[in-house]
Symmetry: C2
Subunit: 517 residues, 2 copies
């Protein structure tokens, strides 16, 4: 077997799968993990506990001088963690982050969202990387990568060229993504200047995007199309039915339909409107089911106010849930009872829902998921102390949703979300910094380690106070796609010296490899 | 009149006082504001719109070469904003930030809080600046300053020397603070190894701290004592009554008693326990009132579950409320209906409640206050859409609570919280950065400005995505007490060059002035 491309070495933390009903715990392991040129985790050795152990491994395997080495330094409280998966994010809305004022969902769509998205129509040529679409999408990807997001399910706009730009940029920058051209053709509910001309236009524009994406990434190693009927209120019956057919028509060889994403049951006013527009169905989920949109490859964002009957239906169809607590709290949509959704056997991941959510950080979504779960009892089960406690998501559980949960939502549970052998190396190198012992600081890292913390406690501190400053490097399919400026200076420099000591070319080669694409 | 010490120049944003029932709005003004050597805002000129206008002002006033100049650069989206006031923070708990797991209030006290606080007892000499107390308090103050907190109402521990260290450090670093030695003498409820020996010991330890603080800062320009019965459950009846007497005995010349701070109505289990321990009172607020602890200088933290009758009582006594949403959500204490508290005419500020709250950022408390206010309707007034909307705190209102609201809570409404003439200059220089137009970035500032935003929208973006990276400088009583590393490099360098062009010594003098204390 040829040598791996990169050996990662140090502390690895992830969330193992658990049997139903079992508590989620952090797996903290120290050792070496090696990755092939295509990004697959080829092997691990958890007996490697020191530099000399590592040298021995390299010598034993015959890899000296042939592999790249990247290590998480214990002295800097560094660890590898699986990349975050953002199962619901509106890329064009990023410039509006934080601009929701005191509005609720439907007002906010009119005031901020539609005008912003509409502006992406001015881009006509996807190879011309200028204009609003390029600028916004490039910054969106740069920012999400900087927060450790290795995989995102993006809503774009209705525009074909701008959506193609988003796909190209994800491919170029090396972020995994589902790319969704937004379908919205209902003339009663959509703005005149921002909607698909007809159901037929929805379909043919989708075809154009699907063809483009399959053209630039035939294997789908990074970018894939996802059909994106905005939500029930913005699509005609004809379009919804036709989109479901389109998903089946484009099924892969193993019969899996195209991915689909939409919104469900976010806001009570929205639910009332759905009831009014679709009187033939008594639930929101029933509407999507009627048109064939609930498939095992469907992502339903929000699901705040689902009824038990809807949860059963969605579970029966195998559709997945994107929980977006940052957005739900910011827009006052409600407190989603995630425990009830999990109880029903549904697959759940986290979404930032930028810019309904103000932050593109999945770590912030982890925090908000924890917070909402601690408050939901006051709305869902007031007075029932035990049931209230049961609703609480532990930090570990929320991190599970952000990694393996999200992986399952994008139908990639066997490929990403953890450090299992055979998976692809989509990961972040988290650096908390040297700690307060080394002097008063705080400018480089928002997290203060005092020295007595266990790894579990360090992870808690990261979850509650960490941010993009703590993300020192991000890899997708084993490829370095983001690093903090000071990785080249300090960590990178040290790495290089360390690596050179072994006679291996480190950072330079990584950079060269990166620019090869 | 002698020239001012410093002229601040650029965009000033604060929250004007409003008449009852009127909407809070941002005041955005461009111009110059000058501050005396003791930190008083002596004058303003909002007609100064350019460098040459400023030069003309300096010449007209005869200040050329005699004053320091500090400007907020529009090209960097910089603005001056009032310093934040943290009306409730436990300084010794900072190392535990983020470590509350899935616990609720009473469990968390036992597991994390008491052991940490207890460890501060090993410090015996306040002039010996070593050990846990020095290290933790120094880092706490460094961090709070870095987040723009110019005034904090601190809980310390029960220990006299450690509490004296906290006071000394605040004075040394230039942060305004109320310093509270924690009183807890109830042997039934307090840990054996962490409580005051008796009510008499509580009082005499308080006296020692009061004397120390008045010794190091006789005018109270920066640090003042605050009596701190931890909460009803941890104090004996005797101690509570005696503490109230102590507050009156130490009244200032104008009759204002010493400040008092305690907790109230944070958690339903706590409320049940108070009912059990104090059967003679039918409310929690009634307990404090019985012992004389509700005064116009009393700060009551949390107040999540107050009854209408309690709100009336507290209003009648003039006691103040510290709303701590970050903590309330993290510990699952509940959704505080701040609107109801304001309706009752109560004075409200924000508190971080570190480490029940995971973050020492008052900006995070602003965010959490907004979020909770958007969700509280699902608990407090489900189904009532209009009342639900009325519960929402606007961003402006939450910022008001963080500045002028907090100022009123610490009984300093006439001194700090805004840029009114005659107030003290306690402020932060916020820098959002040059914006996305100037190239893809994001390493220095978490906030992306796209160029089309109004100042109001820039403030919203700061509130929702800003952090300590955006706090470029912090002044208390006109004295620079914190600056980001790169203020010396970039902004500071530019400032210096700009200032030297006018023949005025800038940064160097500020540093010298700073080290003079």
């Amino acid at each position: 077997m040829s040598p791996p491309h990169t050996v990662f070495y140090g502390t690895f933390i992830d969330l193992p799968r658990t049997k139903s009903g079992h508590k989620h715990v952090l797996s903290v392991r120290y050792g070496a993990l090696w990755v092939s040129a295509n990004g697959t985790i080829q092997g691990v050795d958890w007996t490697v506990g020191s530099d000399s152990d590592l040298h021995a491994l390299l010598r034993r395997k015959g890899w000296v001088g042939k592999v790249h080495l990247v290590r998480a330094q214990s002295s800097q409280n560094e660890f590898f963690f699986p990349g975050f998966i953002d199962t619901h994010i509106h890329a064009p809305q990023y410039p509006n982050s934080g601009l929701f004022g005191s509005s609720t969902l439907l007002e906010w769509l009119e005031r901020y969202t539609f005008p912003m998205e509409s502006s992406f129509g001015s881009t006509s040529n996807p190879s011309l990387l200028t204009g609003n679409a390029f600028r916004v999408y490039n910054q969106t990807i740069a920012r999400t990568l900087s927060h450790g997001t290795t995989y995102a399910a993006y809503y774009a706009t209705i525009h074909v060229p701008a959506t193609q730009i988003l796909a190209s940029l994800c491919l170029e920058r090396g972020q995994k993504a589902l790319i969704g051209r937004v379908c919205m053709d209902n003339s009663t509910t959509c703005p005149d200047d921002y909607r698909d001309a007809s159901p037929a236009a929805s379909l043919s524009d989708n075809e154009a995007v699907i063809a483009y994406i399959r053209g630039i990434d035939p294997s789908g190693a990074l970018v894939k199309p996802i059909l994106t009927p905005r939500f029930a209120l913005s699509c005609s019956d004809t379009a919804m039915r036709a989109i479901a057919d389109q998903a089946t028509r484009h099924a892969s060889e193993d019969g899996a339909p195209l991915h689909i994403q939409t919104h469900i049951s976010e806001n009570t006013a929205e639910i009332d409107a759905v009831r009014l527009f679709f009187p033939q169905q008594d639930t929101y989920a029933g509407v999507y089911d009627e048109y064939g949109l609930l498939t095992p490859r469907t992502i339903l964002a929000h699901a705040v106010h689902l009824t038990p009957k809807e949860r059963e239906l969605i579970s029966a169809r195998g559709a997945k849930i994107s929980h977006c607590p940052t957005s739900n709290s910011a827009l006052g949509s409600g407190l989603c009872p995630v425990r009830h959704i999990l109880d029903a056997g549904l697959t759940v991941g986290l979404g930032t829902d930028v810019s309904g959510g103000y932050s593109m950080s999945v770590l912030e979504a982890v925090r908000q998921a924890c917070l909402v779960s601690r408050l939901v009892r006051f709305a869902a089960s007031p007075g029932d102390e035990e049931e209230g406690k049961r609703m609480v998501l532990s930090v570990e559980e929320a991190l599970y949703l952000a990694t393996r949960g999200g992986a399952a939502v994008v139908d990639a549970a066997d490929q990403v979300g953890g450090f299992d052998k055979g998976m692809l190396f989509d990961a972040q190198l988290v650096r908390l910094g040297p700690g307060v012992e080394k002097g008063i600081s705080g400018k480089e890292s928002p997290v203060d380690v005092f020295g007595w913390e266990s790894w579990e406690e360090k992870v808690y501190k990261w979850v509650w106070n960490g941010d993009d400053r703590n993300v020192k490097g991000v890899w997708v399919n084993g490829r370095l796609v983001h690093s903090r400026g000071d990785i080249g200076g300090e960590t990178g420099g040290r790495l290089l010296r360390w690596v050179l000591g072994l006679g291996v070319v480190g950072v330079g080669a990584v950079v060269a490899w990166r620019s090869r694409r």
